[in-house]
Amino acid sequence: MTFFLAILDGLIVLLLAPLTVGFVRLAKARFQNRRGAPVYLPYLTLLSLMRKEMTVTKHSSWVFAAAPFFVLASAIALAFIVPTAAAGVLPDFASNLFLVGGIAAFGSVFLAMGGMDAASTFGNMGASREMTLAAFVEPAFYMGFSALALVGGTWSLDGILRHLASLPWSAGVPAASIALVALVFVTLAENARYPVDNPATHLELTMVHEAMLLEYSGPSLALLEYASAVKLTVMLGLVASLSLPFFLIQPPVTALGLVLGVLALIAKLALAAFVLAFIESTFVKMRFYRMQEYFSLAFIVALAGLLLALISMTR
């Protein structure tokens, strides 16, 4: 029974991914006093991209063609092993936090290789910067999640979520609050949002993630766009459900509980998208060569989270 719930949790995320991106774009538009496109527009763009013809540069090799599949595979794997709507459905070895870190790195590596194979300076610069960011995000990523693990008592995200859900809100979440802030830093860096990277531009000096997608077109571009959408949804969903561990789908589930869970997830994703849009509209993008300040800040916040977790645990 829990096996189906895990598959369901993954599928929900896969379906909702373009919706979250739509939410974020809508919220940002509204912040900029624009009407913004309808929320379901990303679904349509992906489908239309799928039907377009692909133009591939002569100089690229098989790596350029294979990269989108691996990037999407890593995103899909993340969707299935990171709990968003459901809790207590995955065994310990399935959602170990270091496994999540590894698979995220797997995805960004192939994205960077795709960028490098395009033999254009834009892609190369994007790949070089992406790999630098991936290298610097790891300490903060693992320290933040370890702080959470101390609070949750186990190293599998699913177990942490289940533990937080079982505790009254005041007991669990405050202890993990600083760690969650660190995770927000990490999420922004991992998904190429402000202040690390500007997702909406094609200006070579400010784009990192977009630069690597520059050479892709047609179905490959769709796969890559969809993969980044899924990754964004997974991480936003995780942070949201960790900070608001209510209405989660627990194993002895009833039909009502299921529907409520999905709706709660949609609400949480909308809220998270709104917060993300708010951050993106207020913060300015940091210069790439000041990135070590950003990541050292993230690491220090994670350490503070660890300290708080230790104090709250021993008390």
């Binding site: 489908l47 799928m50 039907r51 013809e53 133009t55 591939v56 540069t57 002569k58 100089h59 690229s60 090799s61 098989w62 790596v63 599949f69 595979a73 899909i76 794997a77 310990d92 070895f93 170990n96 270091f98 496994l99 590894g102 698979i103 790195a105 797997f106 590596v109 290789m113 490098m116 194979d117 395009a118 033999a119 254009s120 300076t121 190369n124 070089s128 790999m131 991936a134 290298a135 610097f136 790891e138 300490p139 693992y142 320290m143 370890s146 190293w155 599998s156 177990g159 520059l214 050479e215 047609g218 179905p219 769709a222 796969l223 060569y289 990135m291 070590q292 350490l303 660890l306 230790l310």
Partner: protein, 662 residues
Amino acid sequence: MAPSVFGLLFVAALVLPLLGSAAALLARRAGWGNALSQYLFMLSGVLGLAALAGYFTALHAASSVVLLSSPVLAFSVTPLSAFFLLIVYLGTFITSLYALGYLPLYADAYSVPLTNAVSGVFLFALAAVLLSTTVFTFLLSWELMSLSAYFLVIADRSPESLSAGFLYLVMTHIGFACLSAGFLLLSGGHAFISFDGVREVARQLNPAALAAAFALLFIGFGSKAGLVPLHQWLPYAHPQAPSHSSALLSGTMLKVALYGFLLALTLFPGIPASWAFTVAAVGLISAFFGALSAAVEHDAKRLLAWSSVENMGLIFSGVGIALVLHGLSMPLSGALAAAFALFVAFHVLNHFAFKTGLFLATGAMVAKTHTRDLDLYGGLAGKWPAFSGVFLVLVIAAAALPPSGTFFGEWLYLQSLAAALRFSSPLLVASAAAALGLAALVGGLALFAFVKFFSAAFLGRARSEHAEAAEPMPVLLLVPPLLCAAFSVLLGLFGLPVLSAATAGFGSLVPVTTVVPGASMSAWFVFALLAFASAFAFIAYRVFARNRTVRRTETWDCGTPLTPRMEYTATGFSAPMRFFFRGLVMAQKEILAEAVVPGNPWIANRRIEWSIASVWEAWLYRRIARGIVSVAAFVKRLQNGVIQLYLLFVLLALIIVVLVAL
């Protein structure tokens, strides 16, 4: 197999390399000389593996097989040495298979018979170090190993390899001096003493002597394993050797240094926490410097050498932390110490697999493109699709990405460190947190280095005629790296379960490895997950993508026609790293502008000169060298040619000795 039979097998495997080198010398005129010696080496590898198989299954690796026990020389197989012998014989087999196709390509650069003869002695010495059970035999075979490695490094007699060989042999000799002093300090004056004897003698030694002996042994083995600050020879020496030998140097010799250190640890009655902390700290610092230098390096083989420094640093820090935890008596410390020991064993195997494969593959690449500078590579994936596929698997293993065995090794390491955060003593938690942060950064830097290596070499357009005119890759040079890649994937799938089963003592395969309750990992699940996700993505593509026509066009260049020189080279790729760590890699960049028309600053030919230097070499090595030189210059003034002064020396000595005699 009865014990005596594979005692014979071990002896055969030990002696065959010497036969191979003799054959190489005797048949130096004949064309098939190289082939004959390589086959003999491979035979020794196969026999060794067969003997080990027999040893592991039949005796359940509990007791040791004595091969020779004369009062001076004594060889026998012990459980600890059997594990490392596995690596030596695997390495022998694969590198000799590779040398079959590789050495004929370099018939003019290396004198093939001599190189084979020396590598035969080297292979013998590697196995002999592992098999020796008395201090004298150990030091004898150790010195033989170091010396034969020197002759492999200077195989092509070029000035760079001579200076690299010089630095290597001087550091090795200092290490050997420390080793002999350390071992003999422990054996208390007995010249011919077995390691068991040393254990008894060490028990009665006073703590100061034990501390001095440990320091000496750590310096000796650390310098050989390439730990900071005695690592500077490794990035110079390994690349200069022929590729199949540098694969052996990096893949196997560093492990023998680790074996020596582990053997030395068993000799001490007890390891205080302060020693273990220093080992862990030095290990982590070496890992950081190794990874950082690999990230900014643009010479292919030197990058791999730096990555060896990083991995050996990680392994030694694993040993250090295991020792610290072993000393504690807290609830989880026992399980965590076992986890780190498992990490050391597993990472040794993983590093052997991917490093040997990478060195062999890079050797093939350098053989075909005649340059080692990554900035001149590019577009090789198009020319050698199969080869680049194998290389990608090896790079994934080197960068510790999920499906590879190294990822599960890194997981063991980081997971156990995170689990150590729960201990109560603040010092332990602080150092565990620092170690976790640094280890994660090291993982990131290694990731950066190997992505840079793969993409600069294989992707994009050829940046020079070296890469443009790369000849097709012969199969013989492709098979050994393929074997290594396969072995690394196998390690990923079965490595952790088999090893934890072996160490845990029961026979059945353990699908899920658990470090502490709540922290477990199953290799098969990860493979299944990635396979399922890739299938899912492919099916999504097949279902949704109606129009699958592909049009090959020029890369989008917004107007200005793109040339290969506009691509990011490996140096360009690592520019952010050089900027962020400019203090540590001592990066200097100068843009020199000479005005075309004197007096007119605007029109000028600009030239950029940039350089990175090793912090250690600048601060530590040159300082010591300058100190020795100044002392030598001072002492040299004694021999100034004036006979009257010499007579005064004699008189002075006489007076002093007579005064002593009164």
